[in-house]
């Protein structure tokens, strides 16, 4: 298990894309041929409905804990109050997860 000292953005992006690959998307979703950081998760043209987003965020948190040994809460008040939701796309979620993980490490 890599420690938090070695976590970088690419590792988090890889983990989130893997989590998305494994995620059980609703049948009515228009699933693209492949996922990338440009993939829209939530909101207009997003893959996930609100309950799907909850499950997906929990899966990401669980995988971050299992692989990197860090327990973080992604869906906190700060995330919910941002004008640009960190859950809009894979890319924005990666950025937010890296930011929260770094803050956690700095405590």
């Amino acid at each position: 298990m890599p420690s938090m000292q070695t976590i970088d953005r690419a590792a988090v992006a890889h983990l989130i894309l893997e989590t998305l690959q494994d995620f059980d998307l609703p049948e009515e979703s228009s699933v693209p041929a492949g996922f990338s950081e440009h993939t829209i998760l939530f909101g207009r043209d997003g893959l996930l409905d609100s309950i799907g987003l909850v499950s997906f965020i929990l899966d990401v948190e669980e995988n971050l804990r299992a692989r990197f040994g860090i327990s973080i809460t992604l869906a906190d008040e700060r995330a919910m109050s941002q004008n640009r939701s960190p859950f809009r796309s894979v890319s924005s979620l990666v950025d937010y997860a890296v930011q929260v993980a770094a803050e956690r490490r700095g405590r």
């Binding site: 309950i51 499950s55 929990l58 669980e62 327990s71």
Partner: protein, 234 residues
């Protein structure tokens, strides 16, 4: 790998929680109990953790332990609770905060962390504990009853929010039972309260277990957001 089901019970050191821990251990469950102080219950399949149920980090730690040691969670019984029999005009804010922390925040944290584990299996049972003091509007129990009214509301809304994960959330409302909580209440008050029940007798631990048995059994997967008050109170 164990196949026996796993349960978390808060407030498991004494009273109703202790009875339920022993009841479910004897039925083959593995039980993770918790309380503020150590338990003298030592039995195969029983694990005890000392914590304050309103301490978020400690509660997360308890459920991490359940995940690591048992790898599954089938039921949570949110039994831990405190009360304070006092006239509202004599109740300090610190008492209000303490009751809300234990009864509302604690119940919420156990629901949240329990549901995170249960959703991995796509099923689970949460039973919260409310009180007949709420529907009976018992004087002197304004804050206790109000805190349990919040637990009831939490139960009903979580029933909706967690149904997509196959998790049911229900509540049981015991009548007065002889526990530390009721020993602090004057006898005439309790007798008057029991007199307002449809069935006028003290509750027994077995009465509570009968309801939790019903809520957590597999066939109750279509029962959620419900409260059962004992003694015919409604």
């Amino acid at each position: 790998m164990h196949s026996s089901p796993v349960m978390v019970i808060s407030g498991a050191r004494k009273g109703i929680g202790r009875y339920l821990a022993e009841h479910y251990l004897s039925a083959g469950w593995r039980v993770f109990g918790c309380s503020r102080t150590e338990s003298d219950l030592h039995a195969e399949g029983y694990f005890h953790v000392c914590l304050d149920v309103s301490d978020e980090a400690a509660v997360c730690g308890l459920f991490a332990t359940v995940r690591e040691q048992a790898g599954r969670l089938d039921a949570v019984l949110n039994n831990a609770g405190i009360g304070s029999m006092n006239h509202a005009l004599l109740t300090p804010a610190s008492t209000v905060q303490s009751i809300l922390n234990t009864n509302v925040t604690g119940t919420f944290l156990f629901c949240r962390e329990g549901a995170k584990l249960m959703r991995l299996a796509g099923s689970g049972r949460i039973v919260n504990f409310v009180t007949v003091a709420t529907p009976l509007r018992v004087e002197g129990e304004a804050i206790y009853a109000a805190s349990k009214a919040a637990v009831l509301s939490l139960t009903q809304i979580l029933a909706y929010e967690l149904s997509g994960f196959g998790i049911t959330v229900n509540a049981v409302g015991p009548t007065p039972i002889e526990t530390d909580l009721t020993r602090a209440v004057p006898s005439p008050k309790l007798e008057a309260l029991i007199g307002r029940q449809a069935i006028k007798r003290w509750g027994q631990f077995e009465d509570v277990a009968n309801v939790t048995d019903f809520f957590i059994k597999p066939q109750s997967d279509f029962v959620t957001g419900q409260v059962i008050y004992l003694g015919g109170v409604s």
